[in-house]
């Protein structure tokens, strides 16, 4: 099992699209946070995380989502999470999002255009 997370960044219609490959776990959580921080400092306003090739995402991964949402700032949780959308999570990642109750706070899409259009 690969233990590194590859992050490819593309700019599409003013939105930073991060294509993740590998597990988002306690070992790779920081990599994702640092990349997001770098992009936000560089002026990124909105972010789509493409999880199509994410093999595993547990509580550490969801913690990273909360930290990234917090980087955007905002008065409340929904304002912060409004800047981050998820694309193509596996059934298992969807289950984790639902179990931990993140599904009410972060939008999940199957289509990139829809995700970008939702900002």
């Amino acid at each position: 099992m690969s233990s590194t997370l590859e992050i490819a960044v593309a700019e599409e219609k003013g939105v930073s699209v991060l294509r993740l490959k590998g597990p988002v776990d306690a070992n790779t959580q920081k990599d994702l946070e640092e990349k997001a921080d770098e992009l936000i400092r560089g002026g990124a306003k909105n972010m789509v995380l493409d999880l199509k090739e994410v093999s595993y995402m547990g509580s550490a991964g969801l913690r990273a989502l909360h930290i990234i949402a917090g980087m955007f700032g905002g008065d409340d949780q929904s304002a912060r999470f409004a800047h981050v959308k998820l694309l193509n999570p596996s059934d298992e990642v969807r289950r984790v999002l639902k179990t931990l109750g993140f599904d009410n706070y972060i939008d999940v899409f199957d289509d990139l255009d829809e995700a970008i259009g939702a900002f």
């Binding site: 306690a26 547990g58 509580s59 930290i67 917090g70 179990t99 931990l100 993140f102």
Partner: protein
């Protein structure tokens, strides 16, 4: 003609500072000046090397990927191990912190010089002895530091163990057992079981703080203490003891109070942590239930936790699915309260994902399926069942490193026959 600069640089270097002038001149004949720019890596750990270096100006980092071992500056010597021993590879990487100029000594030229000038060998031996002395000092210092840290961690482990209940409630007709196996010295998982004073209900709690190690352990103490404090605070006890508003229906009052108790405990804990510790983004999945031992009625809130299961010999019954999100993350979160019933011969198991996600060396997980299958096959008291699950987990992982904390809480209704009293509308 050798430049005066190089002679002077060699004379000042740790390699030749006590060598006679004649030796310095000989060495000066075989060195080459080279330079690396700030940020440039001279060599990587594991590479074969044929040269050693003396820094004449600048500063380099000695490192193993992102772990910095030390910094070296003017007059320092490095790379002598791989240069002197033929099959040795570089034991660390060297990267310039500033623009750096170096004097380079190639192995072949050096050995050739040594064969002619024993004083050069003396100088090298001197450097190696210095290096060894420094390493021994460093290892000793680190060993003391490690021992101090280990003692601190051991104190932390003991104190944290005090945050788990020393004994579990014992009541006729009920059998409760629990186990927590930490992945590291301290854990982010926790469990609790205690009687609510003057109420009679038994609080059951299992939680899993995200992450593991010291950070998760500190938050574990906070989550566990807030939940316990809100359930047994003096105000709550007074309120529980206060006159029932509807003395004709004590059952209903007990139900309402239990409802309120649960709701208070989770909401206050959630809001407190989400508001006061939001910078840390730490959260816990948590299952909190009140069990009425007289009736087997169970009221619960599941905050983003793996669904506990009620089971008996004939199979898995109700799963107690999440009724709200994890605690400590979303200050505006709302939590539903659900009911279940533990009938005679029924058991409830609450577990953390450290059980289901325990992996063997092939990265295969123990899985919820295996756990649930096992539950219906083992007819044991609560303690026996907990032990059996732990044994099966150990067999399954076959010594692969434990990745996450493992926690199990089992509550078994051991009443004989029918417990037909009704409670809390169940």
């Amino acid at each position: 003609m050798i430049s005066v600069d190089i002679l002077e640089q060699l004379r000042q270097s740790r390699l030749l500072k006590s060598a006679p002038k004649s030796v310095v001149s000989k060495v000066a004949e075989i060195v080459e000046t080279t330079s690396i720019n700030a940020g440039q890596t001279l060599f990587e750990k594991g590479e074969r090397g044929t040269a050693m270096y003396i820094i004449t100006q600048g500063r380099v980092r000695v490192h193993d990927t992102d772990l910095v071992l030390c910094h070296l500056g003017s007059n320092d010597v490095f790379g002598e191990m791989a240069a002197l021993a033929e099959h040795e590879v570089r034991s660390a990487s060297i990267t310039a912190v500033e623009d750096t100029t170096l004097l380079r000594l190639e192995r072949d030229a050096l050995f050739d010089l040594i064969s002619r000038e024993p004083e050069v060998a003396k100088a090298l031996i001197h450097v190696l002895c210095e290096r060894e002395k420094n390493i021994i000092n460093d290892v000793t210092r680190r060993a003391y530091k490690v021992r101090t840290l280990e003692r601190e961690l051991e104190i932390g482990r003991k104190i944290q163990a005090g945050f788990l209940p020393e004994t579990l409630p014992q009541m006729p007709g009920w059998d409760i057992a629990a186990r927590l196996l930490a992945a590291r010295e301290v854990a982010g998982d926790f469990y609790d079981a205690f009687e609510i004073p003057d109420h009679g209900a038994i609080a059951l709690l299992v939680g899993d703080v995200c992450g593991k190690g010291v950070g998760a352990a500190l938050f574990m103490t906070l989550f566990r203490s807030l939940i316990r404090a809100t359930l047994i605070s003096a105000d709550i006890v007074r309120w529980v003891k206060s006159d029932d508003r509807n003395p004709d229906d004590p059952l209903k009052n007990s139900y309402l109070k239990s409802h309120q108790l649960l709701s208070n405990a989770v909401s206050l804990t959630n809001t407190y942590i989400a508001r006061n510790h939001s910078r840390d983004s730490m959260f816990a999945s948590l299952f909190l239930a009140l069990l009425d031992p007289d009736t087997g009625a169970l009221l619960y809130i599941n905050c983003g936790h793996e669904a506990p299961a009620i089971f008996n010999k004939s199979g898995i019954g109700q799963r107690l699915e999440p009724t709200g999100p994890v605690v400590g993350m979303f200050p505006d979160a709302t939590y539903g309260i659900e009911t279940a019933k533990l009938r005679p011969a029924d058991s409830l198991i609450v577990f953390t994902d450290g059980v289901t996600e325990a992996a063997n060396s092939d990265s295969e997980q123990f899985s919820e399926r295996r756990l649930l299958t096992l539950l219906t096959q083992v007819d044991e008291p609560a303690g026996g069942l907990v032990s059996e699950v732990m044994v099966r987990l150990t067999d399954f992982t076959r010594g692969a490193a434990q990745f996450d904390d493992i926690t199990l809480l089992v509550v078994r209704n051991t009443h004989n026959g029918v417990q037909d009293k009704e409670g809390w509308g169940l």
